[in-house]
Every structure is written in structure tokens, then in C-alpha cells.
């Protein structure tokens, strides 16, 4: 009955799986980015859960760093996506295979 | 996991009054009552304040304003509300049905959620979170998403423009807002709302706004940023009537429109409250410390609560009046001017200001001679500013009065308490 570490791990596992699924199956670069966010959140949730169940505060501090890095990652990735969109009028990740137009 | 759910259902269905744990039932009831109170407060605030705003606007524009429904028109908001209730709730055929229906509740919920940490009096606060101020900054994210949702789901270009503008504006102005509020956190050493109030005193020279010149500037910076976050003129680009008809809620009607309006005017209270708590000493009553209030019992305790509530509402109302007057004073900015104001002026300004607060706090020992000298000087600065303001208003009025008397042979004076 008690909620413990395993339950959180299952939730984060589901997040990870769905995120991976989105990354693998989507063609839209923004949608792939959403998948990356899900995967990141799965990892951060794990960190916080471990910190709660006997890990001390270090996990939370690292999750904080993770959130900050995710913000930086999202900003740069979205800037790139927008540039690709401006260049090709499309956010199809498969079409963006050329580095030079 | 399934076992857990089964146990839960079993416990829920096999209700046994003797062994039942009532603690969470009381918790749910208390939470429900608190949110109901907050809702009633928003309704009772947001309604009359629309009337108040329209009366002030009338005054400023040489008009009268609504004065037909009820004595002096005070029930105008009720008439407007009933009208909205009775109107047809239209959903455009091409709209994204689900999101369109859900968005108003998200926006309203975002504003409601701020009331969880906003104090109303000495002990009148739903949850004095340890991270209260940060929570206030964070919960506006819900509002941004709600507005974007409304803008997109309406399937109208005006609504989408309004939604995107609003989101850009809210995200941008959150930065100067956070910077200037963080200077308060530096001064107070805590992010809990009650803690911040506790670090100030009841008298003006004990307030954070007059603690030093940088915090004085931070007060105006944070007020500007919150006015922008509340989508009020001069920053009401998201609903600029002349360009976007009504912005993100252009397709809404009836009750759903009313939710947006609730949030908009309820936000006026949130703006005023944050400024009051962080800079104007909150609910502090002169002559009594928070500890003494907490220690009192019975009737005295509730008396102090009522008194502190009155003090708080009075301070917040002055700020609300100020924000309303600001709305009818300044013209709307252009989109590029809006972004320039934020990124070129408010963000660097707030950052410099934060550095100034930091240096002053590090150099000047608290409650020392230098500290009191700085407080006195800042208070003097504030009084000087207020005097200049009053003098300017008076000079303008007197000049026009003489002109009017010469032209019409009548007095221009119109006492503020008299309502036509």
C-alpha cells in the first residue's frame, strides 16, 4: 500500500519510454524535442525520488542543475529548429540532412 | 499497484465510522472552504472594482461613468455579470472544441492558485509556503499557457496574435519582475510571504520601499513589471482593441468570457498584494508585533486579524487606485516598444538595481546609524516625490480653474466624494 521508490521508478520509466517513442517515431523536429523533454523529466524524477528515499539532498541539487541545463538545451534547440524552418520552410527532421543548402 | 488500488477502493467502500480516518476529510473540507472563500473574494473584488475603475476613468475623462444600476451605479457589475450569465455561450465551429472550452478555467485557475500564498491578515493565509514568492512567480506559467490555449483554440487570427503577444509579454516581463522581487528576498532573507512581512515594520520608515534607494526603485520596477504581466494598459497589447479587436478572448462570450474578466480584474488585486507584501509592510499594524498578535487569544485575536486585514486592504486599495489611474494616463505601447522597454531598460535596470541592493546590504549593517540615515534619506526622497506630484496636480488644476472661471463664470471644483 505504501508509496515508495518503485512506484516512482515505474512512472519515470513510462515517461522515458513515451519520450523515446516520440523521439524515434516523430518526423517533426519540435515533436522530437518534446520527446527529449519527457526523457529528461524521467531522469530528473528519478533523481528526486532517490533523494527522497534515502539519498540526501544531492539528488535534488543535481535535478536543479538538470532543469537549468534542460532550459539551455531547449532554447538552443528551438533556435536551431527555427533557423532550419526559415531555411527550408519545413521542420521535417529527415529533410534537414543537408548541412549546406 | 493494482493491489493498492483495490485496497483503496475497499477502504472507500467498506466505510466504517469507528475506524475511519477523518483527518483527510477535514483537510479536504478546509481546502474546499479556503478556495471557496478565495473565489468569493475574487468575485466580490473583481466585480466592484470594474465599477470603481469605470468611475475613475469617467472622472479623468470629464465624464460621469456608470451611475444607473443601484445607488451611484455600484451594482453595475452585478448587471454586467447577470448579462454574461444569460448570454449564449458560443463556440466557433472551426475552434478546437476541447481546448477552447478548457482555456478559461486554466487562466482563472492560475489566478486562483496565487491566492494559496497571498496573505490577507496576520494569520489569514491559506498556506505560508517556504517558497511563497517563487511560487507566485511560477504559477503565472499556468496563465500564459491558458492564454496561448485560448488564442490558438479560437482559430481566429486576432485571437492567435493576442495569445502569442501575451505569452511573449508575460515570459519577458517575468524577468524584471523576478529580479526586483529578488532584491526584496535579499533584504528579507526569506521567500515566505509572512516572513517578508515580518522583516518589515508597521511604520513607513520600516517598510522595504524606504529601506534604501535601490529598493525604492525596485518597488517601481516590480510594479511596472507586474502591470505588464497583468496585461494592463499601457502594456495591454494582447487585447489592444484598435488592433486586435479584443485579443485572445475575442471569440469568447457568455460565462467563459466572464472567467477571463474575473482573472483580469482579480489580477489587479494580485498586483497590489504582491507590492504591498514585498514593499509596503503588508498587514503590519502600528504598535503591535506579529508575535503579540499570534500570542493573543479569543476575541482579541480575531480583533487583531480584522484590524490587520483592514490595514492590508487599505494599502492594497491605494495601489489598485494607482494602477487604475496609470491605465487612464498612459497610451498603449507599440509591440517593439514593449519589447524594448523590457529587454533594453527594465532587465538591465533591474539587474543593476539588484546589484545595488546587494552592495548596500553587504556594506551597511542592519539597524545601524548608517542604515537609519539611508532609510531617512529614502523616506525624504519619497515624500519629496509625492510633494512634487501633489504640487504639479494642484498647479495644473488651479491654472485651468482660473481659465474656466473667466470663460464660463463658474467654479470648476468638483469634490471627490460627490458622485453625480
Amino acid at each position: 500500500m505504501t508509496i515508495g521508490l518503485p512506484q516512482f521508478l515505474v512512472v519515470s520509466g513510462a515517461l522515458l519510454a513515451l519520450g523515446l517513442y516520440a523521439i524515434v517515431t516523430r518526423k517533426n523536429a519540435v515533436a522530437m524535442l518534446m520527446g527529449v523533454e519527457l526523457v529528461l523529466n524521467a531522469g530528473l524524477l528519478n533523481l528526486v525520488a532517490f533523494s527522497r528515499y534515502g539519498g540526501g539532498l544531492d539528488g535534488q541539487v543535481f535535478a536543479l542543475f538538470g532543469i537549468v541545463l534542460a532550459a539551455a538545451e531547449a532554447v538552443v534547440a528551438l533556435a536551431i529548429v527555427l533557423q532550419v524552418f526559415r531555411a527550408q520552410r519545413s521542420v521535417d527532421a529527415a529533410k534537414a540532412s543537408q548541412l549546406k543548402e | 499497484m493494482l493491489r493498492d488500488v483495490a485496497t483503496f477502493l475497499e477502504r472507500l467502500l467498506g466505510f466504517d465510522p469507528a475506524t475511519f480516518d477523518y483527518s483527510w476529510v477535514t483537510a479536504v473540507v478546509v481546502i474546499g472552504a479556503a478556495s471557496l472563500l478565495a473565489f468569493v473574494f475574487i468575485a466580490l473584488f473583481a466585480g466592484p472594482v470594474t465599477w470603481w475603475e469605470r468611475r475613475i476613468a469617467g472622472r479623468i475623462q470629464c465624464r460621469i461613468g456608470p451611475n444607473r444600476v443601484g445607488p451611484q451605479g455600484v451594482l453595475q457589475w452585478l448587471a454586467d455579470g447577470i448579462k454574461c450569465f444569460l448570454k449564449e455561450d458560443l463556440v466557433p465551429a472551426a475552434a478546437d472544441q476541447g481546448l477552447f472550452r478548457f482555456a478559461p478555467y486554466l487562466v482563472f485557475g492560475g489566478y486562483m492558485a496565487t491566492f494559496a500564498v497571498l496573505p490577507f491578515g496576520a494569520n489569514l493565509v491559506a498556506a505560508d509556503l517556504d517558497v511563497g514568492l517563487l511560487y507566485l512567480l511560477a504559477i503565472t506559467g499556468l496563465v500564459v499557457i491558458g492564454i496561448l490555449m485560448a488564442g490558438w483554440a479560437s482559430n481566429s487570427k486576432w485571437a492567435l496574435f493576442g495569445g502569442i503577444r501575451s505569452a511573449a509579454q508575460l515570459v519577458s516581463y517575468e524577468i524584471p519582475s523576478a529580479f526586483s522581487l529578488m532584491s526584496v528576498v535579499l533584504a528579507a532573507g526569506t521567500m515566505s510571504m509572512q516572513g517578508i512581512i515580518g522583516q518589515q515594520g508597521a511604520w513607513p520608515w520600516e517598510w522595504f520601499v524606504f529601506k534604501n534607494p535601490f529598493l525604492f526603485a525596485a518597488f517601481f520596477l516590480s510594479l511596472t513589471a507586474s502591470v505588464a504581466e497583468g496585461n494592463r494598459t499601457p502594456f495591454d497589447l494582447p487585447e489592444g482593441e484598435s488592433e486586435l479587436v479584443a485579443g485572445y478572448h475575442v471569440e469568447y462570450s457568455g460565462m467563459r468570457f466572464l472567467w477571463f474578466m474575473f482573472a483580469e480584474w482579480g489580477n489587479l488585486w494580485v498586483i497590489a498584494t504582491i507590492a504591498t507584501v514585498c514593499f509596503l509592510g503588508g498587514w503590519q499594524v502600528p504598535g503591535v508585533t506579529p508575535a503579540e498578535i499570534a500570542a493573543s487569544t479569543g476575541l482579541a485575536f480575531w480583533g487583531w486579524q480584522a484590524l490587520s486585514f483592514a490595514v492590508f486592504v487599505a494599502k492594497a486599495s491605494v495601489l489598485v487606485a494607482f494602477v487604475i489611474q496609470l491605465r487612464w494616463t498612459l497610451p498603449r505601447l507599440r509591440v517593439d516598444q514593449l519589447m524594448i522597454t523590457c529587454w533594453k531598460y527594465l532587465v538591465p535596470g533591474a539587474l543593476l538595481n539588484l546589484a545595488g541592493v546587494l552592495v548596500l546590504l553587504a556594506v551597511v549593517p542592519d539597524q545601524g546609524v548608517a542604515d537609519w540615515a539611508i532609510r531617512g534619506a529614502t523616506l525624504f526622497l519619497g515624500l519629496a516625490l509625492a510633494s512634487v506630484f501633489v504640487w504639479k496636480a494642484r498647479a495644473g488644476y488651479l491654472a485651468d480653474r482660473d481659465l474656466y472661471r473667466r470663460m464660463e463664470g463658474k467654479e470648476l471644483w468638483y469634490p471627490p466624494y460627490r458622485l453625480p
Binding site: - | I56, G58, R59, I60, Q61, C62, R63, I64, Q325, L326, W328, T329, L330, K344, Y345, G349, L385, V388, F389, K392, A393, R394, G396, Y397, D400, K410, E411, L412, W413, Y414, P415, P416, P420
Partner: protein, 203 residues
Amino acid sequence: MVSAVPPPVGDPMPGRGTGGLKGWIANWARTATTVLDGLAVTMSWMFRRPLTIQYPDKIPQPVQQMLPETYRGILELDVRLCTGCLQCQKTCPIGCIDIVVEKNEAGGRDITRFDIDVSRCMYCGLCSEVCTFAALRHSSEFEATQPDIRNLNLHFVTKPVPVARHKPGEAPPRAPRGSILKDVIPGYGRRPGKAPDGGEKNR
């Protein structure tokens, strides 16, 4: 195509910062002072007499009485003067006047219908210009609020009226301006715009 670049006309806002750190600080100072000025102006207006005259119940006399003689309000027809010449119907640019003139048993002609759809009328005044005997004139009445738009199709003739026969200069005096509309507009007396003094509303 060469688009002409407008020549610089000078700084519309003198004293504005021009860029750089100095301009940045100047802009801050300008913002502070101008906002203070603006707030002082609006504050001084808080204590001034409003110019609004509250219509319709707090005015010294009905607006209808304050309007000039040449005001073009709702059209009214004095049937006793109408010769049935149909000039007004022909000249109306939107055709909101509907007249039917029929022969009667006595060999004369009767006006059996004279309808003016006020909801369509644009108050141009052409019909009253062409009316030789001043049968059709604008009144000073302008309150056209009705529960049903069909009420605004005014029937000036309810039973056949023989056309008037008179030479110019011999016509009977015209009914006072606005006195006819009382019987033509449905629910005339019950409208909110009643004169507070209870006096004669229309001339």
C-alpha cells in the same frame, strides 16, 4: 520604382536620449518625469466638474425642443396637404416611401396608402425638398427605438383619403411640427424619453 525617403524632420521628442549609456540614462529620467507629469494631469482632472449632460432624464428641456428648425428628424406627412403627386416617392434614393393612389367612385382620386419605412430612411431630405405644399416635412423627433423593426414602417394613411386640391398659397395651414407622429408611431407616449416637466413634448 524609387520610393522617396522622407527627409528627417528633426527629433519629435526633444531631449530624448540618443543612444549609448548617456541616452539610456536620459531615457530613464524622461520616463520617470513624464509619467509623473501625466499622473499629475490625470489626478488634477479627478476634481473637475464632468461635462456630461445625462440624457434623457436629467436635461432641462427635451432635446427635441433644443433642435434647430432645419433639423432632419423622422419624416411626417400632413395628409390634408398631399396632392398625391408621387414626387417624393420618385425622388427617394432608397425607395423607402410607398404611395398608392387609386380612383374612387366619385371620379376623384384617393390616397389609399402612404407608408414611410423609417428604418431605411437616411434622412437626406430630398423628398421634403420636392414637396410643393410642404405636406412631407422632417420633424424634430429622432427617438426611433421600437421593440419590433416593423413598427418603424409608418402608415400615415389608414383609410382612403381624397387627394388635396388647392392652388399654391391657398393651402390650409400645416399641422404643427411633430403633432402627427404621435398617432403614427406605435406606443409613442410610453417611451423613456419623456419630458421631465411633463409639458408639451413636440411642437
